[in-house]
């Protein structure tokens, strides 16, 4: 199959088979490897809470959901509060700004990456949420990104909005002063 790469030498090892010990296959060249293409397809449905989240995103709104016991707001919601195991039913509209809690600078290119290296991959605590969300940071040299930095969402143009998390292209500095590190300590 042309689309499948050759096995790299040295990574896979098949010990030699001493076929002389088995009369029926004496002198037969041992099979060292086989290729078995496999494909199974799935049609996903996101479920109730993620559907609510995705439909709101298409309207350029970020909706979290509140734990009925602790009051914590989760985004993206999965439908159940991960701390108490009860359904989340109250939707909470979140801001379009947030705070970088942690980040890393990606210097090595990889298949499928969406921006040029180096780029910054960060966890952003969206205003009003109690859990961080993964996002890219643009509009600032990677060396200047820091925990506590305030950022704002950069959306795709309105006519490209869809029920997709890719509506938020990335986050960029909002120009606000950094937050006190103590206020994000819980989310690290």
């Amino acid at each position: 199959m042309s689309e499948i790469a050759e096995l790299p030498e040295g990574l896979w090892y098949q010990p030699d088979v001493d076929t002389s010990q088995i009369p029926a296959i004496a002198g037969v060249e041992a099979v060292r490897s086989i290729r078995v293409p496999a494909r199974v397809e799935y049609l996903y449905t996101p479920g109730r809470a993620p559907t609510r989240f995705l439909r709101a995103l298409a309207e350029k709104r970020i909706m979290g959901e509140r734990c009925p016991v602790t009051g914590k707001v989760y985004v993206p919601p999965r439908g159940v509060s991960p701390v108490v195991g009860l359904p989340t039913e109250e939707q909470v509209e979140l801001g379009h700004r947030g705070t970088v809690t942690t980040f890393c600078v990606v210097d090595i290119a990889f298949t499928g990456q969406v921006t040029e290296t180096p780029f910054v991959s960060a966890l952003v605590l969206i205003d009003g949420a109690d859990i961080t969300l993964h996002g890219l940071i643009q509009g600032i040299p990677p060396a200047d990104v820091r925990p506590g930095m305030r950022v704002e969402a950069v959306w795709v143009p309105d006519d490209e909005l869809s029920t997709s998390f890719e509506n938020i292209r990335w986050w960029r500095p909002s120009g606000e002063p950094d937050v006190d590190p103590d206020t994000i300590r819980e989310y690290l």
């Binding site: 049609l43 439908g79 701390v83």
Partner: protein, 351 residues
Amino acid sequence: MRDVAIVSFAQTVHSRRRQDVNEVELIQPVIQEAKERVGLDRHDIGFTCSGSSDYLAGQAFSFVMTLDAVGPWPPISESHVEMDGAWALYEAWVKIQTGAADTALVYGYGKSSPGDLPRVLSRQLDPYYFGPLWLDSVSVAALQARAMIDSGKLTQRQMAETAARSRAAAKANPFAQVKGDFDVEAILAEDCLADPLRRHDCPPVSDGGAAVVLAADDTARRLVERPAWIRGIDHRVDSHNLGARDLTRAPSAALAAHEAGVSGGKVDVAELHAPFTHQEAILRAEIPLDGAEVNPSGGALAANPMMAAGLIRLGEVARRIIDGSADRGVAHATAGHCLQQNLVAVLEGDG
């Protein structure tokens, strides 16, 4: 050995597609109901064990996503098996035997609807010889049914009778998916899906789940008036190589039944996890059930949520002991193709 009992059981209403919910939304109400039936909350559970399959979800570590439903914070003692929840129950039973827990929550779930189930299940075959043939699960079962018929152990009419009896029994099961009165002659007049299996010989494709609460000794007695004590439980495996087996037999089921002590008393009710009609005949020959009522729930022919259908057999027997309608019952769960792996438990009530 500690006395360990099933004290609570809950299941979903099984259906062909639950596209409205994701897995955690599917199983959360069932977990909550199983705990609330015996007045427990998450802090009262000593050990949690689940059964599910990434091949059904199409996602690696998919069970982690459903852990939200147990509220695992502060950190809990938890485990998972990539098998039917019946095997999760076995692990929980062992955990309680070690003294590390007095109670356990066990659940199993599967949404088969996102994928093509017979094709997904073909991935249970070995990757070198059978797997590349993409032999789907219905075709593999048909090989076994053909072996049963050719050996003279079973007729297609008897298979149709099992289908009709199971779906009729399921009329009393509010959680069943395929139920009703079916005519044996009409079934036999249908074309085969995979010769000699007709549609009626096959289980439905189901989305669903189930949960059970286990408790030991006085804890069990405190939670429920009549605990369903697990008097014996054992699981065994036959060869993975279909060509190395006599497909008309399931020696691992017979051995598990022996080790679980099935023949130690009268069996009032048995729930056998036989997804295909001919498999019930194999299990009846391997497990000494005498005059027991078999599959009053309709069995896997009435609802077959993958990774839960075996656990449901345990729950269905336990339910009948807890409510006093049975004194001693046998529950069986299977996994793999052609009844390759089998678990048997004997459940009893007091007095």
